[in-house]
């Protein structure tokens, strides 16, 4: 595993280097700004055009992100952190959101979100921040990334909700019974044995989503969406078929209580 991990990190480094000229330039800038971050990216700055994108097209691209991230007036933290006032924000710095250790580390080493850093990150999140909880494979299409970033530039100017850490209210009927049950985390821990063969309790997402530290409403909702075939993943449909309300509430309580490492 140790070896595998190293190999992966290496691969990640190569992937990061193989990015577009724009990304390389951004990485260069980042390294220049903060020597501690120099291991993140090559240090040879290559000049390139600034990122240009179409916010209207970007709004459509954002659909892919919406199940985890809120943006705009009143945005709250969900499965992912809210994105209001994103530009200029230090990575992993929002109070009340359980980031992976890796993202917090990158933040404390000087990673700040801006057009360039978002561009690199979004192209392949696991390569730029190995160990990030964001279960997103990446967006290889440069134009789509630029559109998305342009959209975020506009939409994130809003102020977040009064208390962005407050849990959102249940969004609709789905899973309402499970939502109303106080889950037993000990029972959840037992049931989790079945989940952790694939979903790592450390919160790492190596190809299978991280499910630790989610708000209860999102966890319950996701399981019910599998149960009712709104989401189509075969393994999850099978797993949820045998889970009742008490069990779903218990799992939500247990995984919600874990923090990513």
């Amino acid at each position: 595993m140790r070896q595998a991990g190293r190999a992966l990190t290496l691969a990640a480094g190569i992937a990061a280097m193989a990015l577009t000229a724009g990304a390389a330039a951004a990485a260069g800038n980042l390294a220049a700004r903060n020597p501690a971050a120099s291991d993140l990216a090559p240090s040879d700055p290559i000049t390139s055009d600034p990122v240009t994108g179409d916010p209207a097209a970007g709004e459509k691209v954002f659909k892919e992100c919406r199940s985890c991230h809120q943006v705009g007036a009143g945005a709250r933290n969900g499965i992912g952190p809210h994105l209001d006032k994103l530009f200029g924000r230090q990575a992993g710095s929002l109070e009340g959101f359980a980031y992976s250790l890796s993202l917090r580390r990158k933040g404390s080493q000087g990673l700040v979100w801006n057009e360039e850093t978002l561009d690199i990150y979004l192209s392949k999140p696991q390569a730029y921040v190995p160990g990030t909880r964001m279960s997103f494979r990446g967006m290889p299409d440069e134009q789509a990334r630029h559109d998305l970033i342009a959209y975020l530039r506009e939409a994130s100017a809003e102020a977040p909700a009064e208390d962005p850490t407050a849990p959102p209210s249940p969004r609709d009927e789905i899973g309402a019974i499970a939502m109303s049950i106080e889950g037993d985390p000990d029972f959840g821990e037992y049931l989790s044995n079945e989940c952790v063969t694939c979903h790592q309790p450390s919160g790492r997402a190596d190809g299978i989503p991280s499910i630790v530290g989610w708000p209860k409403v999102d966890f319950v909702r996701a399981l019910f969406e599998y149960k009712t075939n709104v989401r189509s993943h075969e393994v999850m449909r099978m797993v949820t078929r045998n889970l009742g309300n008490d069990e779903i509430a218990a799992l939500a309580a247990y995984f919600g209580s874990l923090s990513p490492q």
């Binding site: 595993m1 044995n193 078929r241 045998n242």
Partner: protein, 427 residues
């Protein structure tokens, strides 16, 4: 080892009957002892869960023949060039350092069930209150006449990972255009039902990526059908047209034997010559389980479906490939799932912790070609007579390539997840 031998066991023999939610400051000798034989998918998981969940109240010893464990799962991906050998090899360091498990590298030779001691090959004895046995499989060499442990140096089985896996890889990489690979597939029951056919896919991947369109792969199967057959056959036609020929018993009429000196496999129908011959013989529970009288006449070990407890000895639990797990296939996923049920019951016996009803699951991913992954899975529940399947699914033929790619990527996540669940999170 001698340290363990000298420990007197008499003091402890009644331990299991007391309530033992012991504080951790008690010396090791005073804690109930669990010994696990076999540090593979089943055994290492059981050791880790017992140690982790008992929070030091149980003294756990893991006996494993080898200092490192190479996973059979993903060993086909190593053959196909998708993984390094290093990346499928794991150490026991984290189990020892982070979970306080005593890892003993050595071969268990026998189980003295009367005395409740494991007898090591060097003659030392390791006492237990509860024993978990997960030795995997042993090969029935003479199930294929002419085959033997020596013959396996020429015709590798590679059904136990390690040097055999590397040997097969060397031989595979040496194949040239126009040459032929022959696989003798195993009869049921065997570990990893889709494994031989995933392996055939990886053989074909290597040959076709070198442009060896005149190389052939012949599979001689004692079974008339196999796991994920439609998916594999569709994939072989699509990615490696004309390269793979699969013959069931209705074609070859029966596998008569192999001759390592000529590299040939004789069947009723014809003799097949291979420049590489991969023989996967019939299988039985690991030798130690046979020797200890834990197996029945099927060659595998009957267990109680509720708990994984041996029906032959109430102080012993048998897991993984060695046990008779009803509808569950012999897989690492199954062994890992069974280990958690056994671990919970072992703790229930020794510390009176809560025992919940057993739940079992399995999913097996297979890679057919680059980014073309498929899977099959099921959930299981104990019934009176066996562990029975309750729901299941399988990938469909004709799925689009994006879904197949996602399935492959998911299998990488599974491998990372299950190996850290078995060996503890490394690094």
């Amino acid at each position: 080892m001698t340290k363990m031998t000298r420990r007197t066991f008499g003091l402890l023999s009644g331990a299991a009957t007391f309530s033992l939610a012991l504080p951790t400051y008690l010396r090791a000798q005073d804690r109930p002892k669990v010994v696990v034989i076999g540090g593979g998918a089943g055994g290492a998981t059981a050791a880790r869960y017992i140690a982790k969940d008992s929070e030091g109240a149980v003294d756990v010893t893991l006996i494993e023949a080898n200092p490192q464990y190479t996973t059979c799962f993903f060993s086909n991906l190593y053959l196909g060039g998708f993984r390094s050998f290093q990346s499928i090899t794991h150490s026991y360091d984290v189990l020892a350092s982070n979970f306080g498990i005593s890892v003993v590298t050595g071969m268990a030779d026998a189980i003295d069930r009367e005395a409740r001691e494991v007898v090591m090959a060097d003659g030392s004895r390791v006492p237990y209150d509860r024993l978990v046995v997960s030795p995997g499989i042993d090969l029935i060499w003479d199930s294929v006449p002419g085959y033997s442990e020596e013959a396996a140096e020429i015709m590798p089985h590679s059904w136990k990972a390690g040097p055999q896996t590397r040997l097969l890889k060397e031989k595979l990489d040496a194949i040239e255009n126009g040459q032929q690979i022959v696989m003798v597939a195993p009869p049921n029951p065997y570990r990893c039902p889709p494994g031989p056919y995933e392996r055939v896919s990886m053989f074909a991947h290597i040959l076709s990526s070198k442009g060896y369109t005149d190389a052939k792969i012949v599979v001689l199967d004692p079974k008339s059908k196999f796991s994920k057959q439609a998916l594999f056959q569709e994939g072989w036609e699509k990615h490696y047209p004309g390269m793979v020929e699969w013959y069931g018993p209705d074609v070859h009429g029966g596998i008569k034997g192999v001759d390592p000196s000529t590299g040939s496999v004789e069947t009723d129908f014809d003799t097949f010559k291979g420049d590489l011959v991969n023989v996967i013989p019939a299988q039985k529970a690991g030798e130690i389980a046979q020797k200890a009288g834990l197996a029945n006449d099927t060659g595998f070990c009957p267990i109680d479906p509720e708990s994984m407890r041996s029906t032959m000895d109430e102080n012993i639990f048998v897991l993984g490939d060695a046990c008779i797990a009803g509808d569950m296939p012999k897989s690492a996923f199954s062994a890992n799932s069974q280990a958690k049920v056994a671990a919970m019951n072992v703790r229930g016996d020794l510390t009176e912790s809560k025992v919940f009803p057993a739940r079992y699951a399995n999913t097996c991913w297979s890679l057919i070609a680059t980014d073309d992954g498929v899977k099959v899975g099921a959930q299981y529940a104990p019934t009176e007579e066996k562990i029975a399947s309750t729901t299941s699914f399988i990938s469909q033929t004709g799925e689009d390539s994006a879904l197949r790619k996602a399935t492959y990527e998911e299998s990488l996540g599974w491998y990372a997840g299950i190996t850290s669940d078995i060996f503890g999170r490394q690094g």
